[in-house]
Symmetry: C2
């Protein structure tokens, strides 16, 4: 299996493929074609996330930092659980490909939405 | 931090950089410049290993398969614990870069060598 071929259609929404799913570990390939996170949306994850940008370009913003970080291919970072972040921009002219390793949430599974009210 | 720049000298031996080290999880960047595994050597790991080849070319051999697998950039595979394997060949003309995610050996740590005798 190959990370780069074939690439799915991501013209409307990000395309996420789970490459490995084990207790406390999930590896995903994420393909963006110009989609930022929705306005005002912040990721707030129970899991740690190690992520590398493999192609394209993006600006990743942390809630605790003033400026977004400009990412180019090969740039990687480790995002602590519950460190709020969002994707401010991805290059609309070419595919932006991420490899993300989510880890450490053995018991809680995926994020639980806020309870209403 | 970046996966691709700078690359260390790997002219004599493989260069391994640990990018993340957490309980039950270790992410490594491995750079080869033409080094195969030593003759007769097989990796036999307590951990699972998800690995992707990011640049260069390699032939990966499993002990339970007759022929080596030819890997090109983007090719990934998941190697079960204790599935014996070796690197038969990496391209001597250009850097071969791997990203490896080792997982699932919470209690045992790194491989324990066979006890003597």
């Amino acid at each position: 299996m190959n990370l780069f071929f074939p690439l799915p259609d991501a013209s409307v929404a990000e395309a996420v493929a789970t490459l490995l799913d084990r207790p406390g570990l999930r590896i995903e390939r994420i393909l963006s074609r110009g989609q930022p996170s929705p306005p005002g949306f912040w990721y707030d994850q129970a899991e740690g996330e190690w992520v590398v940008l493999l192609s394209g370009a993006a600006r990743l913003r942390f809630a605790d930092e003033v400026e977004a970080r400009a990412l180019t291919p090969g740039d990687w970072l480790d995002i602590a659980p519950h460190r709020r972040h969002r994707v401010d921009w991805t290059d609309p002219t070419r595919p932006t490909l991420w490899l993300a390793v989510f880890y450490g949430a053995h018991d809680t599974g995926r994020d639980i939405p806020d309870s209403p009210g």
